[in-house]
Symmetry: C3
Subunit: 343 residues, 3 copies
């Protein structure tokens, strides 16, 4: 894969600064890129590395162009332009259309001839796989599920019955979609299963990381709207609703019936309580605990600072005394006021 810089500019709608004939054969980091490689500068934090780069070309913003010691692609959104360029250098693992002879496909399935069903994949009754979709090796898709056009389950993915996955989804390995929600009724101390009768419905252009779990709804469906991106090791409980173009980082857990708005950004390791609502456009920083609804867009955090363990022990103990300390502070203020008035 080789492109001239001019060709890249044309494909990405950007402007060449320097030599359009310069040949690009791959990508690199600002620090590590060498001859033949293109890199990008999106975060101003790395601007001082620009002068030292040995890259053949840098994707950058208008204001950085003059400081660039080499060729450049000038872009209004250098990170986006980098995404477009990187896609050109990505090695696609071709999956030949058709059903691998070791796959087990129920005769009631409807698999498009331009779909690919991998080795040892298993499809239950009435599964539908649309054109261009790829069901990777050792994936299991249970009865009645629908995999939309150009969607891909990479490997060892499990999709439970009646799940609906839209177009161009990318579901990474080990992930489980549509498992039973965690619902039990208590019968004198013994937990009795509540059948989970809803489904999971996933929109278009959704990416879900590895070993993530999305549970089916109890009665209504669990819903993941268009353009949502979920990282690895995320738990999405039953009847959660995630709005369009929201992005959630790894290890986050979202409890049942939580409703997360559109264009939110939820950091890694966050816990979201059940039955609450997060409005559109909210950012929650990593490892925060969202215990109540968030009604105003903005950036939210919780979490406590890391300290050498010996210091931490001392402050840890005081946290249990906080309310008492606050009361003592108030009482001191009152006493001091009285003393002053007396004096």
């Amino acid at each position: 894969m080789r492109y001239s810089l001019g060709e890249l500019a044309e494909r990405t709608g950007t402007r060449v600064h320097g030599d359009p004939a310069c040949v690009i054969e791959g990508v690199g980091t600002l620090h590590g890129a060498g001859p033949g490689q293109i890199t990008f500068l999106a975060n101003p934090r790395y601007k001082r590395q620009l002068g030292e780069t040995r890259a053949a070309a840098v994707i950058l913003g208008e204001q950085e162009a003059d400081a660039c010691p080499c060729n450049a692609l000038v872009s209004r959104n250098p990170h986006l332009t980098y995404a477009h360029v990187a896609a050109l250098f990505a090695r696609e693992i071709a999956m030949a259309p058709g059903v691998h002879p070791t796959a087990v496909v129920d005769p009631t399935c409807r698999v498009h001839p331009a779909a690919s069903i991998g080795a040892h994949a298993v499809l239950g009754a009435n599964v539908v796989v649309e054109a261009g979709a790829v069901i990777g090796p050792c994936c299991v898709v249970l009865d009645g599920s629908h995999i939309g056009e150009d969607s891909r389950l990479v490997a060892n993915v499990t999709v439970y019955a009646d799940t609906v996955i839209g177009r161009r989804a990318l579901i990474h390995a080990g992930t489980v979609i549509g498992g039973d929600g965690f619902g039990f009724a208590n019968d004198a101390g013994v937990w009795i299963k509540v059948a989970q009768l809803g489904r999971v419905r996933i929109g278009d252009d959704v990416e879900i990381g590895a070993c993530t779990t999305v549970d089916r709804g109890a009665i209504d469906d669990t819903v993941i709207e268009d353009g949502v991106k979920l990282d690895n090791q995320i738990q999405v409980a039953h009847n959660v609703h995630i709005g369009k173009h929201t992005i959630i980082a790894g290890c986050t857990g979202i409890a049942g019936s939580a409703h997360i708005g559109s264009r939110c950004a939820i950091g890694g390791g966050v816990g979201v309580t059940g039955h609450i609502e997060i409005t559109d456009g909210v950012t929650v920083t990593g490892t925060s605990f969202v215990s109540q609804s968030i009604k105003t867009p903005g950036v939210y955090s919780s979490g406590v600072p890391l300290e050498p363990t010996e210091h931490w022990h001392k402050n840890f103990v005081r946290m249990k005394q906080l309310d008492e300390m606050a009361r003592r502070l108030k009482s001191l203020e009152k006493e001091l006021q009285e003393l002053k008035q007396k004096g």
Copy 2:
């Protein structure tokens, strides 16, 4: 699937309020149910929705019956009655008894003729699968494990050697039972593996969610007693013991040799330190950190509030000063007391 309300009352031991001939064809939420659907009211929080429901019937308590605008099933435990009704409407995915031709079953295995071994499942030497048990597609059960009557491994589940699973277990996809506990001895800075020689023993009526991991014991066994319910993405380390009818929500991690009592309820995202004991009947709320044994039943919490990030930064810094603040507060109190006595 269609039942008259009278038939549902009979099957669930409840009383009809209204028309027993009313036909029920499915379930819905209090808010969303329409004609032909039954719903339930268990949480008083939703009582005000009762007046507006368009459901054909509502499962509710005696005290709500008169306020119900439609037919009702009157129950002492509406959530439990709903569980019984929902089970009637659950679509069972039939697994035909017998061994799928693509399954790989070691000739030393003992598989009951009324068990079902799915496509591409793999059973090691001397595995026993009892009557009614279902080993789903792409599950791997290693040597010497025992799967009890009517237990089901859904798909892509891995069970390591010598694991014992009781009757009526439901193990969801992607879950791993019996992996090595995390045990290493330090040899001058290099970690040397400590062979994990214990097993995992799981009682009857246990449900384990998707992508959950339960490690085998180091010497003795890891034990999960009857009726325990574990959600998705939970980590149960070696030699943990979980008592009967305890329920644990998603993303919780339980460190080695922790002993959790019976009928506990542990919220999601909780961390439990190793080698501690939680007595029977303890509730721990979500995202708490259990750093010490809990000896008295009750409800326990930890965790810090979410705030707009700019406020949080200010309070975050103060947490490191808590002990110092407490000392200054005490010294102020002393000084003020002296001042008062002088005055």
Copy 3:
């Protein structure tokens, strides 16, 4: 498996205290071991159990030897000696060399005749599997990956394309190595995938637990050095670097481009922010949040204490007032000082 105590001493380089002819047939805990079993005493906390043990022999330190009521193996590192002994009693599940007839191996692969490819395993194009390596049942190894000598993928493991795994690795079930890092560029509110062009490189003697995920790099590689031990349910994001002989407990999440030094010990449920550096020899206790680089070796903690929920509520509210409390405290100190000077 039976060994005389003298034989065990010879194999482990330790000294017999008592009868070298004593026959050992298995291991047990200090509390639970009976006749024919050997146990160990490494943690002084359990010293008082020594007098009551019914074990045939105990592995212990020089200073405990005289207090031992039975035979002993005297060792400078009893836990390490136990590791050596336990390895002798571990049941190895033999995997016959060769390719199982149900495995799907691309003709371009290079599989050493002394490697074992399990039932229903799938190997993509140009995969290399070295001598003694075991690819367990239902594992998927995608194009161009390299599995080193004597490494083992247990079952249902997924290895993405171009991953490099060194020698003697042990990768537990359900784990995913080399999935795409979580990288997206924002195009007017819509997230556009950034192709993840780096790889995962794993050194020698690495163990990775079950359902753990290690993402491939965005441009450069994600690197796990020799001797690293990762527990279950860990998330390692793109371009993370983990130094030699570092050990990380379950449920920990490490964000992108974090650099963790050598011989660190990271507890369970820890969150590590992206783009930070943890120097060599750092210990972080369980459930801590590492929000900044750690430049000095030592032990670090964060996290808040567990309390009965009613008390916790009161302190929880005060955490939002901490900065205000600190200001009021300072102002009180000033006023009191003025009052004293006046008086």
